[in-house]
C-alpha cells in the first residue's frame, strides 16, 4: 500500500504538548444578589440565541413514593402562570419564530428557547415569570399526568432496553437515589397529586437553585442587565437539606433478568467506580474517561474492532462512564450477542476486554487517538449553539463551574497509559459488578420460542 496519501497529520504531531487553557474572557459570568448565576457565551456567527434555565433539582432529589415528580412538574411548567394563560407560552415562543422544550434528568431540570436574537427579552420574561408564578389547576394536573404515563409507556414499558436499564440501576444501587427512574414508577405516577407537584415547585424553584445560560449573538453586559430586571426581583429561599445517601460498599456480584418481547438477548454490566469531585486533583475519573474512549470512543476503538468486526461475537457493543454527575458513578459495558452466540460468551468477552487492558495496558497510538478525538470535537462543537449551552449548563448543574470544562479537557489529555491500566486493574472486580440480561420473549406467546442458545436462567 501507499503511505504517500496519508502523511502524519498535524493533529497527531502536536499531541506531545499540553494545550494552553483559553485566556480570553468569553464566557462571562455574573451572580445576582438573590443567588442566581448567569453565564453568557457570546457567539456572533448568526443572529440566533439560546436561552436556558437549569434548576438543580432532578429525580435524585425525590423520595420513595414520589418518583417522577421532578419530571411531571417539568410538564406542568407549560400550563400557564398568573398572567400567562394555558398554552400561551407555546404560542408566544412560536410567534418569535423560535422553538423550545425542556428536559429532566437524575441531576437537574432544564428549560430552553432557541429564538432570533430580537426575541430574547420576551422569552426571558416568560421564563422568569414561571420561575415563581406557575398556576396550574387540579384538572390540568389530572390531564397532564396521563400524558406522562403515556410517555412512560412509550419510553420504558414497551421498550425492552429501557426496562433493562431501569432494572440495572434499581439493582446496582440500594441506598443511592440513582436507583429510581427519572420518569418515575408507574404506580407513583398513578398516585401523584397536584399538591405533590406544587410542593416540588415551592421547594426547588428559586433563583438560588438556578443557573441561566445564554449562548449566541448577544452582549454579555446587556444580558446581565436583562437578567437583573427579569430574575432579580425574586427572593432566595431556604432549600431542602440534601443528604448524601451514599451507597454502601457492594459485596458480591448482582444479577437481574428482564423478560420482554424481543428477538435477541442483551447484556449490560455495570461496575461501581469513583466520580469526579475535584477537577484539578482527581486523576482516576479522567483515566476512566480514557478507558471508556479506548473501548468505545470512535470507530476504531476496541469493542467495535474486537467484538463486532473481529470475533463477531456481538452485533453491537458499547462502553461508557458517567462520572461527571451529582451522584455516584457507574462504568457500564453493554452488548447484543450475534445470532449464534450466548449471553455467557458475551459476558466473558466484555470482561476479557477489561482484563486485557489491566494486564497489557494500552498503546501510545490508542492514547493519541483519544486525544485527537477530543481536539477535533472541541472545534466541531462550535458549530452548535445548543451543544455549547448544554455543555455549560450540565457542568454547572452538576456542581462544577463552566471554567472546569476546559480544565477537564486538558486533564484528560494528560492521562497516561499507566493510569488507564491502573483503573482497569482496580475497579473491575466482581464484587462491585451488577449484570442485567434481557431474556427475549416471543411477541405471540403461542408461537414457538426461538430460545437463545445456552441462556442462563
Amino acid at each position: 500500500m501507499s503511505n504517500r496519501l496519508f502523511a502524519m497529520t498535524a493533529l497527531a504531531a502536536v499531541l506531545g504538548g499540553v494545550l494552553p487553557a483559553p485566556t480570553h474572557a468569553n464566557p462571562y459570568e455574573h451572580q445576582l444578589k438573590n443567588g442566581l448565576r448567569v453565564i453568557v457565551l457570546e457567539d456572533h456567527r448568526a443572529p440566533t440565541v439560546v436561552h436556558m434555565v437549569w434548576y438543580r433539582a432532578g429525580a435524585m432529589d425525590e423520595k420513595d413514593g414520589d418518583t417522577g415528580t421532578a419530571h411531571a412538574l417539568e410538564h406542568l411548567m407549560f400550563k400557564g402562570t398568573k398572567s400567562v394563560g394555558a398554552g400561551e407560552f407555546d404560542k408566544r415562543v412560536a410567534a418569535t419564530g423560535g422553538n423550545h422544550n425542556a428536559g429532566t434528568s437524575r441531576d437537574y431540570t432544564n428549560y430552553f428557547q432557541v429564538v432570533p436574537k430580537t426575541a430574547l427579552a420576551e422569552v426571558m420574561a416568560l421564563e422568569a415569570d414561571r420561575m415563581k408564578n406557575l398556576a396550574f389547576d387540579d384538572k390540568q394536573f389530572a390531564s397532564e399526568i396521563k400524558v406522562v404515563m403515556e410517555e412512560r409507556r412509550l419510553r420504558t414499558d414497551d421498550n425492552p432496553l429501557a426496562q433493562l436499564n431501569e432494572a440495572l440501576r434499581a439493582t446496582a444501587f440500594t441506598a443511592h437515589p440513582y436507583r429510581r427512574p427519572t420518569i418515575g414508577w408507574m404506580n407513583d405516577l398513578e398516585n401523584m397529586t397536584a399538591t405533590d407537584a406544587r410542593l416540588w415547585y415551592k421547594n426547588w424553584y428559586a433563583p438560588n437553585n438556578a443557573i441561566v445560560v445564554v449562548v449566541g449573538d448577544v452582549s454579555h453586559a446587556e444580558i446581565f442587565k436583562l437578567a437583573e430586571k427579569n430574575y432579580g426581583k425574586y427572593q432566595r429561599i431556604v432549600l431542602p437539606v440534601r443528604k448524601p445517601q451514599t451507597e454502601p460498599r457492594q459485596k458480591g456480584v448482582r444479577r437481574v433478568i428482564v423478560k420482554a418481547p424481543a428477538d435477541q438477548a442483551y447484556v449490560m454490566m455495570a461496575w461501581k467506580v469513583p466520580n469526579l469531585r475535584n477537577v484539578k486533583q482527581d486523576r482516576e475519573p479522567y483515566a476512566l474517561d480514557v478507558l471508556a474512549a479506548v473501548l468505545n470512543g470512535h470507530d476504531a476503538a476496541r469493542l467495535s474492532k474486537n467484538l463486532v468486526r473481529g470475533s463477531q461475537i456481538a452485533q453491537s457493543a458499547s462502553a461508557g462512564y458517567d462520572g461527571g454527575g451529582r451522584g455516584e458513578a457507574l462504568f457500564i459495558m453493554a452488548a447484543r450477542p450475534s445470532a449464534s452466540k450466548t449471553v455467557e460468551e458475551i459476558e466473558t468477552a466484555l470482561r476479557s476486554e477489561i482484563k486485557n487492558i489491566a494486564e497489557q495496558g494500552i498503546s501510545d497510538e490508542e492514547l493519541a487517538r483519544v486525544k485527537i478525538q477530543l481536539i477535533a470535537s472541541e472545534v466541531y462543537k462550535r458549530d452548535s449553539l445548543m451543544a455549547q449551552a448544554q455543555e455549560i449548563g450540565s457542568a454547572e448543574a452538576a456542581g462544577f463551574s463552566w471554567r472546569d470544562i476546559n480544565i477537564q479537557l486538558e486533564q484528560i489529555k494528560t492521562v497516561t497509559a499507566d493510569e488507564v491500566q491502573a483503573v482497569a486493574k482496580k475497579y473491575f472486580a466482581d464484587d462491585g459488578l451488577t449484570i442485567a440480561v434481557l431474556d427475549p420473549q416471543p411477541v405471540d406467546p403461542k408461537a414457538p420460542k426461538r430460545t437463545p442458545v445456552g441462556f442462563r436462567h
Binding site: A10, P20, V115, I145, D158, A376, Y380, R382
Partner: protein, 440 residues
C-alpha cells in the same frame, strides 16, 4: 508544520458576524457549477469556523434496486469504507477506520429510497483536509467490498430486521409503507430473505451503475475558497465509475382506503394514518407545509397536540408530517396511546384531519404559522450542519438555487384557499391508509 488547531479554536471566539449578515431577507450565497467530471456542485463559503463539510449524493437508493434484493442500496453505501483496492492504494476496513480517527474526521454513509449519501466533516487545517479528501475520494471510487465483511453485515442487518419485527413502532412503520405503496419500490423494504440473497457481485454492479459522476450532486460548505471547492469536487468525482442511466421509477398509484390492525402485546397502540402525497418541486409544497404547521407540524402550537395531548391527555407524542421525495412521498400522522384508548384517539385524529381539510386554518392560525416559519427561517440555517441538510436537498433534487432566498416570500403568499385546495388534492380523505399495532 501546519497551524495548531488550538490556536484556531481561540481565534474563532473573536470572529465577527460575517455569517449571513443579511439573513433576515435572504439565504446564504450558493454557488453552483458542473465539474469537468460531470458532477453538479453546490458551494457555500463560510470562514467563521475551521471546518469543511462535504456531502456527495447519488441516485442509488432503494428505487434502483432490482426486485428481490431490497437492502442492497443500504449495504452498498454502508460498505463503501469496508476496504479500498485500486492501482496505488490497498487499505483494509481497520486501516480505513484508523485513518479517519487519526484525521479527527467524521464520515457517514446512508441510503433512503431515493438517494445514497456520503458525508464528511473535517478540520480545514491543510493536513487534515488533505488526508480526509484523499481517503474520501478512494472510498467513493474504489471500494473493494470484501466478501467476509459483506457476510458479517448481512447477518447484522438480518438480526436488526428480526429485532424490528418485535417492536410495535417498527412493525407499524413497515406495514404502513407497504400498504401505502402496494405496487411501487417505495413500498419494498429489506426482509431477512432479500438481504440473505445479496451477493458481492450485486454490490459491485450496483456501485458501478449508480455511483457515477454524471449523476452525482456534491455539496461543499465551509472554510475553503471557490477555487479550492472546484478542485475538491473534481477530485472526489473524477475517478468514479462511468455509470449507467438510472432505472426509471414508475409513478405512484394511490392505494385503496385501508385500515389494518396487527396484534402485539404492547401497553400502547401505535398508529399511523396517511397517504402518498408530495414530491419535491411540487407547486403545492408551500401551501401544504404552511397548512401542516397548524394541523400537526408546528410542535406544541399545533391542533393535534392541543386536541390529543393538551386537552385530553391521550398521547405523549402526536404529529403530522410531509416527507417529500422524488415521487410522491408520504403524508403521515403518527401517535401512540394506551391500547384501550386507541379507538377514541384515532377517531379524534380523523375528525381533526377532516375538519382541517374542509376548512383549513383560521386567519389567526395562518398568521401564527407564517410568523413562525418566516421569523424562524434563520434558525434553520444558523450552523454549517443545518445548512448542509438544506444544500444537499437543493442539489440532489435540483430545486431552484433561489429556494432559500424565496422561502419567506413564498410562505407569506400562501392563502387559506390554497391550503384547502392543496390538502383536498394531496390528502384525499377517502384513500387513507391506517395501521394500528397492538390493539384489542
Amino acid at each position: 508544520m501546519k497551524s495548531h488547531p488550538a490556536n484556531i479554536i481561540h481565534a474563532v471566539a473573536f470572529a465577527g458576524a460575517v455569517f449571513f449578515s443579511a439573513l433576515a431577507n435572504a439565504g446564504p450565497a450558493i454557488e453552483q457549477w458542473i465539474a469537468p467530471s460531470g458532477a453538479r456542485v453546490y458551494f457555500v463559503e463560510i470562514r467563521t469556523l475551521p471546518i469543511l463539510d462535504v456531502q456527495v449524493d447519488f441516485t442509488a437508493g432503494g428505487t434502483q434496486v432490482s426486485p428481490g434484493k431490497a437492502g442492497l442500496a443500504g449495504l452498498t453505501a454502508g460498505l463503501l469504507d469496508a476496504g479500498i483496492n485500486d492501482a496505488d492504494t490497498v487499505l483494509s476496513e481497520e486501516q480505513i477506520s484508523g485513518r479517519w480517527v487519526d484525521l479527527g474526521a467524521i464520515v457517514g454513509t446512508s441510503a433512503d429510497q431515493d438517494r445514497a449519501s456520503v458525508s464528511l466533516r473535517t478540520l480545514s487545517s491543510s493536513a487534515e483536509k488533505e488526508g480526509s479528501l484523499a481517503l474520501l475520494s478512494k472510498i467513493l471510487a474504489s471500494p473493494s467490498f470484501p466478501p467476509e465483511i459483506l457476510e458479517r453485515e448481512k447477518q447484522r442487518n438480518i438480526s436488526a430486521i428480526r429485532e424490528g419485527e418485535t417492536r410495535p413502532a417498527v412493525i407499524a412503520s413497515r406495514r404502513f409503507a407497504t400498504l401505502m405503496y402496494p405496487d411501487h419500490p417505495y413500498g419494498i423494504l429489506p426482509t431477512t430473505q432479500s438481504v440473505a440473497s445479496i451477493e458481492r457481485a450485486d454490490l459491485v454492479a450496483f456501485h458501478r451503475a449508480h455511483y457515477a459522476a454524471s449523476a452525482a450532486s456534491v455539496s461543499i460548505i465551509g472554510d475553503v475558497s471557490r477555487a479550492e471547492a472546484e478542485a475538491i469536487a473534481q477530485r472526489l468525482t473524477s475517478a468514479l465509475p462511468a455509470g449507467e442511466a438510472s432505472n426509471p421509477v414508475p409513478q405512484v398509484t394511490m392505494p385503496l382506503e385501508t385500515v389494518e390492525k396487527i396484534a402485539h402485546p404492547a401497553t400502547q397502540s401505535h398508529m399511523r394514518v396517511g397517504v402518498p402525497a408530495l414530491r419535491r418541486g411540487d407547486p403545492d409544497f408551500f401551501p401544504l407545509i404552511v397548512g401542516n404547521y397548524t394541523l400537526g407540524g408546528g410542535g406544541f402550537a399545533s391542533r393535534l397536540i392541543q386536541e390529543v395531548r393538551d386537552k385530553r391527555g391521550l398521547a405523549y407524542s402526536v404529529g403530522s408530517n410531509f416527507s417529500p421525495r422524488k415521487l410522491d412521498g408520504p403524508f403521515e400522522i403518527s401517535l401512540q396511546t394506551k391500547r384501550d384508548q386507541a379507538d377514541a384517539a384515532l377517531k379524534l385524529v380523523n375528525q381533526e384531519l377532516a375538519k382541517f381539510i374542509a376548512s383549513g386554518p383560521t386567519p389567526v392560525e395562518l398568521a401564527a404559522a407564517k410568523k413562525n416559519l418566516v421569523d424562524g427561517f434563520g434558525l434553520r440555517l444558523d450552523s454549517n450542519a443545518k445548512l448542509m441538510a438544506h444544500l444537499s436537498v437543493i442539489g440532489y433534487y435540483q430545486l431552484p438555487l433561489t429556494y432559500l432566498d424565496d422561502y419567506q416570500a413564498k410562505v407569506q403568499a400562501v392563502t387559506i384557499d390554497q391550503i384547502k385546495a392543496a390538502f383536498a388534492k394531496h390528502v384525499p380523505l377517502g384513500g387513507l391508509v391506517t395501521v394500528i399495532v397492538a390493539t384489542d
